[in-house]
Subunit: 193 residues, 2 copies
C-alpha cells in the first residue's frame, strides 16, 4: 500500500521559474498564468489550466501550478491545488494568511472547481483573480462540480476578494484550442446522467 505521494512540476515549468519573477499589475500576472496554461498543453503535460500565487503587494511570484491530473495520475493535481501546496511549501506553512505573512493572492486561468474553491478557503489567500468563467470550462466539456451558486459571495463573506474576467478572452482561446485539437476531457463524466 503506498505510504506517500509526490507532485513535481514539469521540467519546462521548473526552468521557466528558475529565476525570481515579480509582476506589478494584475494583467501582467494573468498574462503569465494564461501563458502557462497554453504551455502546459503545448508540452503535453496536462490540461489547459494554470495558476500561481503572488504576493499582492509588489507582485513577487511565490509558486506556480499547472494541471497534472493525467500526467501525475492524480485527480487532486489541479493547477490551483499545486500552486497552493507549493506556496505553503515555500515557507508560509499551512496558512498563507497567518499573522505576519504578506497578503497572498491566487491567480487562476479558470474559475475554481468545487475542490479548488474549498482549497482557496483553507489556504489563507486574501484574493482570487480569475480569467475564464465556469461556463467557459463547461462549454468544452469539463465539469466544475457541485459549487454553490453564490460561491463568490461565500468567499467574500470570509474576507477573500474575488476578481473575475481578467483577460478572459485570452484564457477562453486556450480552452477552445485545447478542445479543437481533441485534448482529453478527463473526469468529465456526469455519472448517472
Amino acid at each position: 500500500m503506498p505510504d506517500r505521494f509526490e507532485i513535481v512540476l514539469p521540467d519546462w515549468l521548473r526552468e521557466r521559474v528558475a529565476e525570481p519573477i515579480s509582476l506589478a499589475t494584475q494583467d501582467e500576472r494573468m498574462r503569465f498564468v494564461v501563458g502557462l496554461s497554453a504551455a502546459n498543453v503545448a508540452h503535453g503535460t496536462g490540461g489547459p489550466f494554470a495558476a500561481a500565487v503572488f504576493e499582492s503587494d509588489g507582485g513577487r511570484l511565490v509558486s506556480v501550478g499547472v494541471n497534472e491530473v493525467a500526467s501525475a495520475g492524480n485527480s487532486i493535481a489541479h493547477a490551483e491545488m499545486v500552486a497552493i501546496a507549493l506556496a505553503e511549501a515555500a515557507g508560509g506553512g499551512y496558512d498563507l494568511g497567518a499573522s505576519g505573512e504578506p497578503a497572498h493572492e491566487l491567480v487562476a486561468s479558470t474559475e475554481p472547481c468545487t475542490m479548488c474553491l474549498g482549497a482557496v478557503v483553507w489556504s489563507g489567500v486574501w484574493r482570487v483573480v480569475c480569467a475564464a468563467r465556469d461556463e467557459d470550462a463547461r462549454h468544452i466539456g469539463f465539469d466544475e462540480g457541485p459549487k454553490p451558486a453564490d460561491w463568490v459571495a461565500a468567499l467574500e463573506a470570509r474576507g477573500i476578494a474575488v476578481v473575475r474576467d481578467v483577460l478572459r478572452p485570452d484564457a477562453v482561446e486556450v480552452l477552445e484550442a485545447y478542445a479543437s485539437a481533441g485534448g482529453p476531457i478527463y473526469n468529465a463524466r456526469q455519472r448517472g446522467e
Copy 2:
C-alpha cells in the same frame, strides 16, 4: 521556488497498514477509520479526521489518510485528499471509477468539507460513507467551507451514493475529546465575520 511537494503517512499509520487488511461490513470499515482518527490525535500527528478507500465488494483496504495539515504544513492535506491520492497511486490512476476498475468507496470519519467534496467527484469512487456530520465538526469550531446545501443530492446526481451517520456517536466522541483537550482548530477563521 519549490518545484515539488510530498505527503507521507505518519509512521504509526504506515505500521498499522503494513499487512493487507480486508473488512467485510460497513460498520467494520468505519470502526477502523474512526479508530485512525482517534489515533491521529493520540500520536499528535494531526486533527481528529481519518479516511480510507476500500473496494466495495470484499472490503479490501486500498489506502488510508489522516489529517496532516499542521504536521505537513499543507492545507490540502485533509484525510480524504490523502486517501484519494494514495488510492490512485496504488495503481488505479487518476480515475478509480475507470472501466475495468473494481468499485471503490471512500469511508470518512466526518462528512467532507467543500474541498474534499469536490475531490470525491473527481476521484471516481462510487460511494461515500460518513460518520460525523458537518454540524458535528462545526460544533467544535471547524469550518466545512461553502458547500452546497444539497451536496448529497449533487453527488447522487453523479451516480455517487452517500451513506451517512454510520457510527456517528463514535466519531463525535473523538471530535469532542479533541476539542476538550484543547486541540488546535486551525483554518477556522471566519474572515470578515
